[in-house]
Subunit: 479 residues, 2 copies
């Protein structure tokens, strides 16, 4: 069995040898490209500036929720950074974006009685003791508020939408639906777990509202066991009453679940003072280096500048923004003149509306984008790139990515691009997303833990270098 296997392995090696021999011109180019990629990595790792830029963005500006003062400050700061690179040009593109504010004083508590104490009270004619427990919650983004008194009611705990479907409207009416659907820890890439569980955050209010619930609570989208609730986008439908929706921390969800199984006569209250204001005018930040020989072909690299408001948006997506600017800086430092036009876009309002990317596509979608890459999966060690393009183009991209094998960033097995470039993908543009190691992303994603301290300098820099490398390769060799 083994000898046959080895013999065929040898045949494979011979085939590979001839393929390299016949494509000697390709091999020559690859040597030039390999040398340039080494220079890119040296620049990023030895003289990198993205980490200090991220520090400024996180510590001097803070959160950058759409419509906030922080967002506008970050527009000015990143625009200035692009200008300081001294390469190409940069400008602001006007975008109308939503303005939602969390407001102060979010809280959640439950009052309840214990069955044994009720029994004892009945026998001894003592007053029944009412107990109280608190849970860490945070409003989901774009949710309506509860009013200052909050909403109160009985809780129905469910693990899925299908469990809700099986309930009568009369049973759900005026109750609070608690979706306690956990992330699937058995999925190695945590984005797969997010993809599966995310719908509970996004659609909980629609599903529960449709059944007549007065509010909904969703287990936070994370594998961590802790006390940090994770916010994120949710939606309403015009045909369904808009009910308040919040996220509860994973420890909180476990405690609430345990409590609901053992108590009687509970009443849960949650209070959130969030509010949606009128839309406001804001900006995408765009940089561009004109191509020398194929200037009509545009390669886009982007990230989103807005963030949620609970922390500093360090990984999501401050990391992607400073990496994008770092690519400009690296190209300038290396004196690189791209053959194709490269556009560097920091999108407004990815988190709660995608208005920035839609505005970009409306204005610039007619330009001939040959590739759009996003960095929006955190500033962790890059493993490679996920791709959304034809099989043929994937094969070409994979042949480029092989040059990143010495840098441990050559994987191209995963499908799909990012949210901001999905608008271009729908128009047929080949897309990709930097694919960092995913294990720690949802520990901090959309929570108070998404701070600068949780970003590692080396990991961030390696991401910038990997992006610069593939952008360089596509600018040189097309796609």
């Amino acid at each position: 069995m083994k000898p046959a296997f080895f013999l065929l392995e040898k045949i494979l090696l011979v085939c590979l040898f001839f393929s390299l021999f016949l494509s000697s011109e390709k091999a020559f180019c690859q040597e030039k490209d390999s040398l340039f990629i080494r220079r890119i990595y040296d620049e990023a790792l030895l003289r990198g500036e993205c980490y200090q830029n991220l520090r400024h963005l996180c510590k001097k500006i803070g959160h950058r929720l759409s419509g906030s003062e922080g967002y506008e400050k970050s527009v000015a700061y990143t625009h200035a950074l692009m200008q300081q690179t001294g390469i190409g040009k940069s400008w602001l593109q006007s975008v109308k974006i939503p303005k939602w504010e969390r407001g102060a004083a979010e809280s959640c508590f439950i009052t309840y009685t214990i069955p044994e104490e009720e029994k004892a009270a009945t026998i001894n004619i003592k007053p029944i003791k009412l107990r109280k427990s608190q849970f860490p919650i945070t409003a989901l983004g774009m949710s309506v508020g509860t009013g200052s008194d909050g909403i109160s009611g009985q809780v129905i705990e469910l693990s899925s939408f299908s469990a809700l479907d099986s309930l009568d409207k009369s049973f759900v009416k005026d109750k609070i639906v608690f979706f306690n659907h956990p992330f699937d820890a058995s999925l190695v890439n945590t984005f797969d777990a997010y993809g599966e569980a995310g719908k509970y955050r996004y659609l909980a209010a629609v599903k529960a509202g449709h059944k007549g619930a007065k509010g909904t609570i969703v287990r936070s989208m994370t594998l961590a066991h802790d006390d940090y609730p994770h916010t994120g986008a949710m939606t309403y439908r015009d045909t369904v009453p808009k009910i308040p929706a919040c996220a509860i921390s994973t420890n909180g969800a476990d405690s609430l679940s345990k409590l609901l199984q053992s108590v009687k006569n509970h009443n849960l209250t949650f209070i959130q003072n969030c509010k949606t204001h009128d839309d406001v005018m804001s900006s995408n930040v765009i940089g561009e280096i004109k191509g020398s020989s194929h200037s009509d072909e545009v390669i886009l690299i982007g990230a989103h500048l807005d963030s949620w408001d609970l922390a500093e948006g360090a990984h999501d997506d401050g990391a992607g923004c400073v990496q994008t600017i770092e690519v400009m800086r690296i190209f300038k430092a290396l004196g690189y003149q791209p053959k194709r036009t490269i556009r560097f876009v920091l999108f407004a309002n990815e988190e709660n509306g995608l208005k920035g990317s839609k505005a970009y596509a409306e204005t610039y979608g007619k330009d001939k984008h040959i590739f759009a890459l996003e960095s929006d999966a955190g500033g962790f060690t890059p493993r490679g790139f996920s791709l959304g393009m034809s099989k043929e183009k994937k094969a070409v991209f994979a042949s480029y990515a092989k040059l990143l094998k010495p840098y441990l960033a050559s994987e191209t097995d995963r499908n799909g691009g990012g949210a901001d470039i999905s608008v271009l993908e729908e128009r047929g543009v080949p897309v990709g997303d930097l694919e960092p190691d995913s294990q720690r992303y949802f520990d901090c994603h959309h929570s108070a833990l998404d701070v600068f301290e949780n970003v590692n300098r080396r990991e961030l820099e390696l991401g910038a270098a990997a992006i610069a490398s593939v952008i360089y390769l596509i600018s040189e060799n097309g796609l």
Copy 2:
């Protein structure tokens, strides 16, 4: 160019198809193996216990330096854990190990004058102001102490041994040699930087002592810019005077270097009260599951139980220890009866002597070890395995590791095993080392930052699952 390339790619695919077809029995085994590996990952990720065991080891026991009370406690704790798995047997193997203690009150300061102030004093007949600066240092492991007054002298800053070689003994005599050799940040795998810079820590005292220096200070082995000095093993030679050696934090090294360039008449003092006691008796902790059909063939999986004393040895190598025990627990949970004998070894005294692994090899080296794997590169996301074995065996191992591709842990390009199994490697045993992502390892390695809080649960669990998988594959299919 491209069509030819694609044609040959197709030929390769056809060859691959036939190789799979001809090795259908192999393919069948792989399916069975793939299913079992999925069960291993489910057990590790959904019901894993290694993280909570690491918490106990770090928080209830603390550091486990050879000869310390903590080490002996950790022997008892891990031995009990092995027994609690309820599979195979476990025992302690006696080992004589060194006992070195740091002692209290490590410090380093420099007094100096500023040239301009000296000039002003000369003109105005004012007293010259003596300035003072402090730096964070820590004694290197096994160094001699300085006595309570410390040692004082002028500093010679050097970036390499060859710079020292070019100096006259008379110039170096009674001075303190400061090796300010930085980690090479351009190397993507940080272990490559460690491999290059590590000699300055290990040999500084020998090299500087040989030239007549009275002490030596070494820049910490890390890419981080911070105030934490990193300890680690150093050595003496019988023919060279034993001079005190310490590590200075990277920020401290940068400050000291800058200061030395601008001051006059400096005098540096460093104090460390470390001491080497007589050797003491201690133990390796060994577990074993007897093979059902090839019990004479032994597969070893190991880690080192001792740690440095500045923190909790969480990554180095608490992670490897709890992963090793987790493999036992997973096999028990899955009801797995290995074909070959599997031995689980927690070695004593890796950090400052390798006495545990030497004792193991002396007693058990005659057993037919077909493979020895170590986990001693931190509890980070596994990328694959580094290998120290023949090309033929590497090819077989790589064919097994391919089954870990869905778990993103299939890389086998890197060479070498770990320190503890190097003694077996010298005897011809094929070895390997779990290869986790290396970016954050040296941020905490041998410093006060190597604490439980810096270990991520998922990353640790994925490592345990990757180890269990390859041990299972080799137990089933040989190597």
